[in-house]
């Protein structure tokens, strides 16, 4: 069984996975297991909790020694300061715009390409597909030098498109979608052709709606990757106005020196958008990541 199939099996809609556990007996082994898991969970949450605690303290108490989780008062001062500086909102907007555009373009372009490769006979198809698949082995990180030179030549440094376009060229997503289309029965499409529909009509009206789950997986994975990407936006943006959130956070220093409560407040704000999305779309995200994760990257 391939890992890919395993994942695909796992993400198929099924009953609540908790259902098996509700009735299970609380043996001693199971209690011990639960204790271990809880310890691990606490360890994983601890750093975030400490950051949150710091961000809610008055600034002059952040460097006190001793593990004080709560300062003399709980204050949102740091958040107000960080927000008032305006940079975070600008970066948040940039990131959201860039991640959305990249996701939209990736989904549309890779779906079209995958459909073309999976469903169309045309001269050079095998060669082109092979060329695209070979690209899976090229990590974008090794192309940073020539890609930057290319951006300089195109005048795309410090532009949104300079950040977006190189991130759209992801052959792994084409691979995932080709595999999916290959497994899709052709009867529906053929029925539509019999009824006189054209290819584009069939693609947009039949194939795309049928592929919603896998497209969602590709979209989710792309969105997370783009939202969090550091290296490329870091290289292609130099103007703080054009930076994304992860890049701006580490490249621009606050005018008033190191203020730990403020830094932690910006960390919390910077991490929050995807965390909130995760809380609401846990299942979809878990599926999307697991599905694309193995084949992707």
């Amino acid at each position: 069984m391939s890992a890919l199939t395993a994942v695909r099996n796992a993400i198929r809609p099924r009953g609540d996975e908790d259902s098996g556990g509700r009735g299970a007996r609380w043996t001693r082994g199971r209690v011990a297991l639960l204790a271990c898991a809880l310890v691990l969970a606490v360890l994983w949450v601890l750093p975030l909790a400490w950051a949150l605690a710091t961000s809610l303290k008055p600034e002059d108490e952040t460097t006190d020694t001793g593990l004080h989780w709560i300062g003399s008062e709980i204050t949102f001062n740091a958040y107000e300061q960080v927000w008032a500086s305006g940079d975070l909102t600008r970066w948040m907007f940039n990131t959201a715009y860039i991640a959305s555009m990249t996701t939209l373009l990736t989904v549309v372009l890779t779906a079209m390409a995958a459909y073309g490769f999976s469903r169309t006979e045309f001269r050079g198809r095998k060669l082109l597909y092979g060329l695209v698949m070979a690209g899976i082995m090229v990590p974008p990180q090794v192309l940073i030098a020539p890609l930057f030179a290319e951006m300089v030549a195109f005048g795309l440094v410090d532009t949104y498109w300079g950040v977006i376009l190189p991130q759209v060229a992801t052959p792994a997503m084409v691979f995932i979608l080709v595999k999916f289309f290959d497994g899709l029965p052709r009867e529906l499409e053929e029925a539509a052709y019999v009824d006189g529909a054209g290819r584009w009509r069939v693609f947009w009206r039949i194939v795309m709606p049928l592929s919603r789950p896998v497209l969602a997986a590709v979209a989710i994975f792309t969105f997370i990757q783009t939202w969090n990407n550091f290296l490329w936006p870091f290289l292609v943006t130099t103007d703080p106005n054009a930076m994304t959130l992860p890049v701006g956070l580490v490249n621009v220093q606050s005018t008033y020196g190191v203020r730990y409560a403020q830094v932690m407040a910006s960390v919390i704000i910077g991490g929050l958008p995807l965390l909130i999305v995760f809380v609401f779309f846990q299942r979809q995200i878990v599926r999307g990541v697991a599905h694309t994760g193995l084949a992707g990257q």
Binding site: A6, A10, D18, G293
Partner: protein, 318 residues
């Protein structure tokens, strides 16, 4: 591992079309192939193929970042790179990080997945606490961990040590004995959740009747783990391992943000050296040459990956 472990849904979706499509619609399957693939191919060519080739050209020249010189110098850059001790030391750091980080990232993820799977209890909690960090941008993660471990007298980690009666004042990031370990620690916390999800998905794909049969045979928990779960996970482990190797080899963000490659370049990975020679030092031609040496390393690991997946696909097909 055979198709017996697959559930029947795939069977209803045959990978090939019906045997004989009516003649009239056959032509549809040959229409607009280039129109469908064209837009992607253009982007792909412009932003992957062109830089890949342009990079080769640059690696053979004395190009600078300002584009004011671009003379052909043959293999000089490659010769210089192979003689450059910093190339070797940063490659060494990259491999060292990969070795240090891969094992915990795979093993801890497996342990987490086994726990979550067998507990079948508050599964949202495990997903939230272990996977959520993966959703944070590297900048956020690194600033967070800098705050946790870096300040030597009031840092959280040191105070935690002190609370347990241990000696605080460890130079987490300033002492070359600990700096790389701190980077590994941060990375494990950040990305282990991804592998955890992959394992969890694989575990959930194991049909329950296998366990039920074993239970009837009187197999205990450990025995079931050893004789059913782990063997069935071996393929997943192979793939997770290779993906992790590839991801670890590309380390950049954490080091750049947390130590800048220091102390005394002891944590500087190869990608950061590429960045330093090409962008900080403006020698973008030389940086390209180093990139391609690094690329060779990646390709070797990728080929192993390809072999693994192909083998698994073939087994899958049988």
């Amino acid at each position: 591992m055979t198709t017996t472990t697959r559930q029947p849904r795939e069977a209803t979706a045959p990978p090939v079309g019906p045997p004989a499509p009516p003649r009239g619609i056959r032509r549809h399957w040959s229409e607009h192939g280039l129109a469908f693939t064209g837009p992607f191919l253009i982007v792909y060519a412009l932003f992957l193929i062109v830089p890949l080739i342009w990079g080769v050209r640059m690696s053979l020249g004395n190009d600078n970042i300002a584009g004011t010189q671009s003379e052909f110098v043959g293999l000089d850059n490659y010769a210089e790179a192979l003689r450059d001790p910093d190339v070797w030391s940063s490659l060494g750091n990259t491999v060292w990080f990969t070795m240090l980080s891969t094992a915990p990232l795979v093993v801890i993820a497996l342990v987490m997945a086994l726990m979550a799977h067998h507990l079948r209890f508050v599964s949202w909690l495990w997903r939230l606490s272990w996977f959520a960090p993966f959703l944070l941008p590297s900048g956020v993660v690194c600033l967070l961990w800098l705050w946790v471990i870096y300040p030597s007298d009031f840092g959280f980690a040191d105070q935690l040590l002190a609370a347990f009666g241990l000696e605080p004042g460890i130079g987490w990031l300033t002492d070359s004995r600990y700096a790389m370990l701190s980077i590994v620690l941060t990375t494990v916390w950040w990305t282990v959740g991804f592998n955890f999800l992959l394992y969890l998905a694989a575990l959930q794909a194991i049909p329950r009747h296998l366990y039920e049969a074993a239970e009837i045979d009187g197999a205990g928990g450990w025995q079931r783990l050893r004789s059913i779960t782990l063997p069935l996970l071996s393929r997943t482990t192979g793939v997770v391992l290779v993906l992790q190797l590839l991801a670890s080899l590309k380390i950049f963000d954490q080091v750049y943000i947390m130590t800048g490659g220091g102390p005394d370049d002891s944590t500087r990975p190869i990608l950061q050296y590429v960045y330093q020679t090409g962008f900080t030092g403006y020698r973008i031609g030389y940086a390209s040459a180093i990139s391609y040496i690094f690329f060779a390393l990646i390709v070797i690991v990728s080929l192993i990956h390809l072999r693994l997946t192909r083998r698994s696909r073939e087994e899958n097909a049988s």
